[in-house]
Symmetry: D3
Subunit: 300 residues, 6 copies
Amino acid sequence: MVLKMDRLPIELPKPKNPSANDAAAVQELLGGKFGEMSTLMNYTYQSFNFRGRNRLRPYYDVISSIAGEEYGHIEVVSYSINLLLTGTAKRGMDPQLGPLKDSTNYRNTRHFIASGQSSLPMDSMGDWWTGQNVFSSGNLKLDLLHNFFLECGARGNKMRVYEMVTDPTAREMVGYLLVRGGVHIVAYARALEHLTGVQVTKLVPVPDLDNRAFPETRKYEDQGVHRRLYTFSPSDYQQAGIIFNGPHPEDGQPLEVVFGAPEGVPAPDLEEEPQVNAAGAFDVDPEMFKDIAKKIGVEV
Amino acid sequence: MVLKMDRLPIELPKPKNPSANDAAAVQELLGGKFGEMSTLMNYTYQSFNFRGRNRLRPYYDVISSIAGEEYGHIEVVSYSINLLLTGTAKRGMDPQLGPLKDSTNYRNTRHFIASGQSSLPMDSMGDWWTGQNVFSSGNLKLDLLHNFFLECGARGNKMRVYEMVTDPTAREMVGYLLVRGGVHIVAYARALEHLTGVQVTKLVPVPDLDNRAFPETRKYEDQGVHRRLYTFSPSDYQQAGIIFNGPHPEDGQPLEVVFGAPEGVPAPDLEEEPQVNAAGAFDVDPEMFKDIAKKIGVEV
Amino acid sequence: MVLKMDRLPIELPKPKNPSANDAAAVQELLGGKFGEMSTLMNYTYQSFNFRGRNRLRPYYDVISSIAGEEYGHIEVVSYSINLLLTGTAKRGMDPQLGPLKDSTNYRNTRHFIASGQSSLPMDSMGDWWTGQNVFSSGNLKLDLLHNFFLECGARGNKMRVYEMVTDPTAREMVGYLLVRGGVHIVAYARALEHLTGVQVTKLVPVPDLDNRAFPETRKYEDQGVHRRLYTFSPSDYQQAGIIFNGPHPEDGQPLEVVFGAPEGVPAPDLEEEPQVNAAGAFDVDPEMFKDIAKKIGVEV
Amino acid sequence: MVLKMDRLPIELPKPKNPSANDAAAVQELLGGKFGEMSTLMNYTYQSFNFRGRNRLRPYYDVISSIAGEEYGHIEVVSYSINLLLTGTAKRGMDPQLGPLKDSTNYRNTRHFIASGQSSLPMDSMGDWWTGQNVFSSGNLKLDLLHNFFLECGARGNKMRVYEMVTDPTAREMVGYLLVRGGVHIVAYARALEHLTGVQVTKLVPVPDLDNRAFPETRKYEDQGVHRRLYTFSPSDYQQAGIIFNGPHPEDGQPLEVVFGAPEGVPAPDLEEEPQVNAAGAFDVDPEMFKDIAKKIGVEV
Amino acid sequence: MVLKMDRLPIELPKPKNPSANDAAAVQELLGGKFGEMSTLMNYTYQSFNFRGRNRLRPYYDVISSIAGEEYGHIEVVSYSINLLLTGTAKRGMDPQLGPLKDSTNYRNTRHFIASGQSSLPMDSMGDWWTGQNVFSSGNLKLDLLHNFFLECGARGNKMRVYEMVTDPTAREMVGYLLVRGGVHIVAYARALEHLTGVQVTKLVPVPDLDNRAFPETRKYEDQGVHRRLYTFSPSDYQQAGIIFNGPHPEDGQPLEVVFGAPEGVPAPDLEEEPQVNAAGAFDVDPEMFKDIAKKIGVEV
Amino acid sequence: MVLKMDRLPIELPKPKNPSANDAAAVQELLGGKFGEMSTLMNYTYQSFNFRGRNRLRPYYDVISSIAGEEYGHIEVVSYSINLLLTGTAKRGMDPQLGPLKDSTNYRNTRHFIASGQSSLPMDSMGDWWTGQNVFSSGNLKLDLLHNFFLECGARGNKMRVYEMVTDPTAREMVGYLLVRGGVHIVAYARALEHLTGVQVTKLVPVPDLDNRAFPETRKYEDQGVHRRLYTFSPSDYQQAGIIFNGPHPEDGQPLEVVFGAPEGVPAPDLEEEPQVNAAGAFDVDPEMFKDIAKKIGVEV
């Protein structure tokens, strides 16, 4: 089970230039083969399916902790997409004016027909995320090797999307994910090191370019975000630290396990887009809510 | 963001007869069009994508609360599958004996080749779950209508899988999900009632057969589980109660919003299946863990 | 069995501006999850699969009548696409001039490579229509609820495509389909009302915006097209009127079942596109046809 | 547009041995790459997309006539599947008894979970039919060559399914379709002959085995069903006879175009399967129907 | 088994205007339903699966020879795509400058995210090639008819892509493939003639337009490339000539089987694209290679 | 380009018990995500797409050599499947007897409907191989890491299929592939070592179980097959030895590059299956072949 919090891991700046095609590109990081849906679901299923966890608890705890974090990653990518799409059509309720006219030339029409100018679990070509992206062999060594590769592949995708999209909303998000993905790479490399004695952490970075080439990563690295693994749990997965420890392979600072989640910030309210009837519900009377709220003792 | 807990909503009995074909059938409730992956991802994306939430907060809170619960549902279905698969092959490490010989005649070979006798996000035909199953139009009225239909469709699938699989592990799980899915049906029906004034809750049950025909549901209903909506959050989504209130449409008892999650039970340790090298890692020395654990002050 | 007529339900104006990207957008209404292929095939399979039809004939007749109409809908959407694509490439038979040069920048290359500048059963992203879109649970209540939802979802898609494409060919077609789809919404709502006593028709319109916001609908509504259900059959499905009757939920005018189909208009001849060898067959001698026609007594 | 008739082209005997696995095999002829959904949709889209039909009308009429017939073919295959599935589960409304228990071992669980023991547009592996199966290049010569090949491929599939399934329901249906598919093969071969002067009809039969090896075909051939092309239209497509004429390539009898459709027989009523709640709707009172029927002057 | 040669069948000119959208269009000829992946894999599997080859060796040898050639065709299409993509982004290693900025507006983002500005087995819509495109019925007559149709369909696609892309790299490649595909059409037509006595070669060209309308084909035809079938084998498949002989159906010149492969030219070295880290590996010291090469006696 | 040889890498024994379900399981090694189609196509596309090969030739040569070998692997898996399927139906040409009756209960009906009891590019669930399985990022380090992981994943699949299928045909083939796949694992590990200095070869074996547990591997290892990389080329890719050298990580014997291919054995003739008309072509007169052969000077 999880407890859901109405908070994002980081504050996302408003886009300078809302752009449907930028949003379409960012979808790769959400629903692509190497997107956050994939990392989330790989580790989630590996945690459900882990056999022999009593014997191998610290490995289980590393995988489960990262599984917990990935939920916040699909969330922050989705919000970036949603912000990039906000305001990309001419607002208004009169269909006759063709308020979505420009969208026939955008790359991803699903953002305008299937969704209310918002994210869906698909990639930058509009192909749906699929469970085929989940690898869960049950063999610990193989699963860890997979996860290490998956995170490196995901890093390659993030780097390229960064090079495609210059808007600050997207770049802030990618910068943060490069840092956090970097933690996961180290965590899985460390786990393989524990299991085999081979110094897998020395392989980083894959691809060869360093995170510091991406300026948005720096403030996070200065805060030590790149060397902290969160358990993302009220009280479980605390044996992750048996594996995740020692010096960071790139700057030598100590790796550290933090119980719980980062504090984060409140999720932004997304503006309405009346031309796509999102959210519609024009007649709802907020006063009515207040009355009931009072009765049941809830703050509105 | 979420906090992940190493707990299942309910205690699952051990299967009486582990069965690969039963497990294959139960996959429908995990990765089918109407499975828990679908309900989880529908409400999750609707919560990320909700426009105008300040104006329409109680609806947002209902959807988000249910999104939180669904994670526990993919978990409990996965564990049921994993338990049904545990022991379905002859245990042993000598490949020459053909320990997986019987599995060539089972319906879903992925359980034996791709995974370590464990669940994957696919349906009862082995087809992968896909993001195409996510509906998130952004129009509140349409999304609520969809969710009401989705839950009714999911209910139909649960009823039929119950009729297919008689093993107590699966039936306990289905019984529980029928009750909890019933809460979601009522919640979305109530939301539509609020929005339109039409008495949508009167449509239940869809399909026509009552939950009470499934004996495993009864103890949950006797405990009132069928009339409680949990926020599945440490402190958010509390305005759900503005919508989810009044009498239950079937037995007239009061609907109730509970802050947080049910207590649940610890996730079971799954036995190893050495013939599929799950988990393998034969050389790991648990003593080594203890040493490090001591050093970093973690209990093992 | 069916009898096919070389007629469309309405006269389609010639496009003002043939446009490949407009045509690509309109494909959503043909082969999208909520397109006419989906409505056609859902009701078609539900009619084939209906169990207990002797006991429940009026419901069977409603579903079958609408199934009959949907064929004309895939037809009218296809023709709209075909007309929008006619003339979008430089006509001519010399490949060296690159007559399809512009199409590398259009969204849907299938219109120029796979087809002869014409429609295919795919959506606005070029994804193929799939049988996965067919819901046929066999449970009457659930199927009717599905159909009601499907038609509302389809309505949302039509509204948005209308807002994307301003060309009169497309808008005439969408206007007509909004009206006819509206009839289907009411028909399924009425069927649910009969079955349950809940006033489902009161939920319309979903999404909230009224058809009258789309000017092309008005002439049809003035003619009463929005309150007539056709049986689309020479002599069957006449019990549909046992369900489809009473006042229209929006304007209170009487709902009415008409035996047979609307008169319609002849299907337009589509101009040749020699640069894509469509139709090619340059050597065919029409005189030869005349001779044989005479012999076998057929008019040419 | 079409007019739908509540009639099947032939009388289907009741199965001797209802069989879920036989039904699963027959699905290939419905939703497989070479199934009736494919032939229906190929010719339907080719008819919508035909450019230059004024110049090439007889070819258009051949394609359109066959398109009309194929609807009856998806219908007759669906009914065969439905009849084969009727009674394959233990009837009853008590889920506790596990009335669908056997179905966990059947090949296609969709027949028991997604549908009410009835057909869906999928193939013998449960893969959904897809629009990717539609070929509509717009080039007449290429489309005719495709259609000739498609019908030969379909013939191969029918022959093999016949060899798999010995039940009389399926064999009667396959026998009929072999004969009618044979007509289509000849029709497309004739069209190519007209266009090119090459004696394409001489290529039949493909595969090499003769229809007379399948005893169920004989009565149809004795009635001349193998040499008649129906227009399946009240008054259109009559120029088909300009192409479809001359001696049949196998027995030399005259090819003939018949205006309209064969008479057919009423579609059978399918028994209810209460254990899958198909149709459910237990409370419907048929008397109520009678009252309304009387009022609106419809016979029940 | 095969022996791989680092050579292409023809010299490809450098593109005049590298173009991502041209490259995207050319993908149809690689990974489309009628692309070279399809021809390669169809004949490859038919050769593996051929039953009764001792009795029917010459047919087996024709199919196998062509299977051998198709590998060089996926190669030459891939290189064309790679060349068209070379230089389509601003070169450089600083991600901050957004070197891939333009690619958000290109049709196929996979070329910039998934690959290093290079080809993938997908079509012009970015849809992956799939094994569903392989037809291998095992019936010789049907397989040959399929292959004849497949090559005609492929020819239609090549003609249209030629009309879309005017760059000399692409046109040189298409010109060559039109000629070589023409050989395959004749080969399969000849095989059908042998089997049935029907003059299938007389059907060419399909579509109707002659290869000579494409100027790049002429030099190849002048060299007789259009009438030579290579065995693409050191010493096998030599009975192909039992079938492939006689006059070419279009110009009457003698058909000829050549043992082995054409000479070809060395595969071009593709320039690096540092902005996508392709190839990266910045630290590799070529001197180090030389030392080892010397030691093991290999030329570098 | 390639030269195709009518030879398999090893002699395959005849199956002891032809078995359709065993064949269905073995398909995973052909068309599964980790099957030989995947390894073949990954390295093939990486070789086409390699940027900067002049600078990085030895890496290019390693990848290209392995790409060459994989063709023989799809071949040997296909033949194993074909042999396992030979004789699984009652032979005969009379369809009335239902010669394929048993196949309705087999797992993969495509072997009996789509193919002539032979292989297709699909996995053990009948899902088609797809180009989505190709990873070709263009970044050398990432591609090598991928390839190392892919081969380990493939090894896991082979181990499990070995445990499922006890027939000697399949086991001989899997034994051989375990050995050859082992060479590829070492080759990619060595390449990563060269690039990074990290001792990646020490990670083997992944999964943990040693090849020697599979008796069929032993004779190959005794012959040194596990330490030889073939260039599979008449004269190219010879710099592979700059990377592939040093001691084998498991037994310390010297790694070695061999120019060319192993000798192999002639491909077996597959018996006809007349009940599926494979190959059909009953009238072909082999004498006729001899006459032409004589004329053109080819041995038959």
